[in-house]
Symmetry: C2
Subunit: 404 residues, 2 copies
């Protein structure tokens, strides 16, 4: 008789954003006259850049002719895209990467969920708390997290590294040594970052303790401050301890277009085995590449026009971030993030719980945000708003709050 | 100190098609004057259908405007596509499926590799031998296959069900009861099929023994004979024991466009837990949907024009299949498949090994095929050719062989 993966049964409730979505839908159905504005899920709203659209049309036309048709892509992704990534995202920051250290994928969510495949079942993971739920949930599915302790809203074997206003959202080195350290920087949901020195501390720690860092840099394009690294490989020694993930979702509006990549330097080894070779095997066996036309769209993000246009998109969202940040501050809220990231992280008023505040926001202001506790126990008492709405909706939403 | 997934170290050599690719490239580099024709990897060569191209352009234009832009897709995929699938692939065959029993993905390779996530580590798997290597390799990564026994070219815990000319490529019920039974029908690589009665035997067996069938129907569009089922759900009781995977790669030329889906009926349960809910959780946590424009392309496959055009594509490839089949037969080879599938499975002459024959084909005829032994021990002494080449190349290749 077949058996299921019983780790799945330990997962509490449903994926955070599914619950947010369901509650919003129910409210909208019950209140068809209300205009609900979503500043909840980190989904972009601006159209793809003209350079990307042009590249897509061109690639579609290629697929219409036998002479220019593209079937299966190379396992690691098309070289034109991997080269554009190296030349634009890494070389200018002094990071040397080989073409076969880049793996093109359908996005950072898939990669950050799937990366666990190449690690053993007994590794102890550490996560910033709060953080993007996919890291913990996928490790729970793999049996690395122990049991879920409902009273504490924590997994028994996970090392939580609180990132709160009290420690300026900088995780402290934990007492117990973790094997796998997940760092999302700029952080989702807090919108906060680590300085180069702070990140270097983690890289040194990982090398010393032979831990591996899974570094999610999905929001790096939003960094505006000088001393915040865009890539972990800007830190010395990161190539022997870190895997980096990047996404086209937020820097180029690809949430519905799906493209990302993972970097695994060949120097990253465990007992003589290169993690690059393990991921290459996984990638070649359980994945069949991102579509050709989407990889061409990704290449266009790095064209001169594409770079200019996506920069303007980011500026658009960051103007929203500023508006939310300042609007909430003026309304008397305590607010973080929103400077190097499209996320604004606010303290709930009067020590209200995150989900209670979710209800207030939805019912009183008809605004959908995301409850901080959904991102980890230290997110309790916080609330996330995103800058990905349209300018008009963001203005209207903030207007509702400031009017009280 | 972090540990890797040691199951990866047990995997013998590289993925079959990577080796075929490398050997071909080396030959081409060493013999730049020779025109090498690939009838090796099952990759299509004909352009996307005009209806699909039109839908892609239209969807790209939608992505260029904020009002029609699409961000993250629904977890299960867009309803327009799931509905088209049900209405065209299932309803006409008398199969009733609900919209939330279909999960859109980036292809059947990903799905057949990832499906193992929702099953326990101790399940014993059974595979047809020979078969598409992804089933065994991904179960090896998950630790379900025991150790690789080099002399036998077998995994110690896998139940191999030989499918050879001797048993007309119909797997016999094995002595040991498997928990998970992989059936690929029409089979890759043999191009052979099971009749409705033969498949019903397996469905009855699975229900009786509480095994689950992972049914890969990626080639169903090539079925030409009446008594071969297109879906396992045409068999009575399959909805309580079977998961079905489908692909747009071969019926609509999407190998480089990436789209597929998995069907998990809600009646398929294990100790009260629905596998549909487990896969929904996996899908929502480790995957973020196929691109909107690709899902629109998939919808166009089911339009009246799309159906007509993809039918013509399949007829094109099946004319190649007939040509290969008859050409090889006339040249004195023993040949199977090619009637309900785009694969032709030939016995090597003079009991030559599969890889030796690969070298002969490459060096003497400058044709790339796939060695049968790469698909499992019972594939030894066989060789696979695919019908996915162009008409001209296929003609030329067969001409070379028949001229001897």
């Amino acid at each position: 008789m077949f058996q299921i993966n019983e780790n799945y049964l330990k997962l509490p409730g449903s994926y955070l954003f599914s619950t947010v979505g369901r509650k919003s839908r129910e409210f909208i159905e019950a209140n068809p006259d209300k205009k609900v504005i979503s500043l909840g899920i980190g989904d972009v709203t601006q159209p793809l850049a003209p350079a990307v659209i042009e590249a897509l049309h061109k690639a579609v036309d290629e697929m219409a002719n036998a002479d220019t048709f593209h079937g299966y892509a190379p396992d690691l992704g098309y070289e034109f895209l991997r080269k554009a990534i190296i030349d634009n995202d890494y070389k200018p920051r002094g990071v040397d990467l080989a073409l076969d250290e880049i793996f093109i994928s359908d996005g950072a969510k898939s990669d950050s969920g799937n990366i666990g495949d190449i690690f053993g079942p007994d590794n102890v993971i550490a996560v910033c708390d709060p953080v993007y739920p996919v890291y913990v949930d996928t490790n729970a599915m793999a049996g690395r997290t122990g049991d879920y302790v409902t009273e504490e809203e924590k997994w028994s074997k996970v090392i939580y590294m609180p990132c709160t206003a009290e420690n300026h959202f900088v995780p402290a080195i934990p007492e117990q040594t973790p094997d796998m350290i997940y760092i999302c920087c700029p952080n989702n949901p807090t919108g906060t970052t680590l300085t180069r020195d702070e990140l270097q501390t983690w890289v040194d720690y990982a090398n010393e303790h032979k831990s591996v860092i899974i570094y999610d840099a999905a929001y790096e394009a939003y960094i505006s401050e000088e001393d915040v690294p865009h890539s972990i490989y800007e830190c010395e020694g990161a190539d022997t301890c870190a895997i980096e993930m990047r996404s086209f979702s937020k820097n180029a509006g690809f949430t519905g277009t799906r493209l990302g990549f993972t970097v695994i330097p060949k120097k990253l080894v465990c007992n003589g085995t290169s993690l690059n070779s393990l991921w290459a095997r996984r990638h070649g066996t359980k994945f069949n590449g991102a579509p050709y036309i989407i990889q061409k769209a990704g290449e266009a993000v790095y064209s001169e026009a594409g770079k200019q246009q996506t920069k303007e998109q980011i500026a658009y969202y960051m103007r929203n971030a500023k508006m939310i940040r300042e609007g909430l501050q003026n309304a008397g809220f305590e607010v973080f993030g929103g400077v190097n990231a499209p996320y604004i992280w606010m303290k709930t008023p009067d020590q209200m719980s995150s989900w209670d505040f979710f209800d207030v926001m939805l019912e009183k202001y008809n605004i959908v945000g995301t409850p901080g506790s959904g991102f980890g126990p230290s997110g309790e008492g916080y609330f996330r708003l995103t800058a990905f709405g349209s300018l008009e909706n963001t203005q209207e939403a903030i207007g509702r709050i400031t009017k009280g």
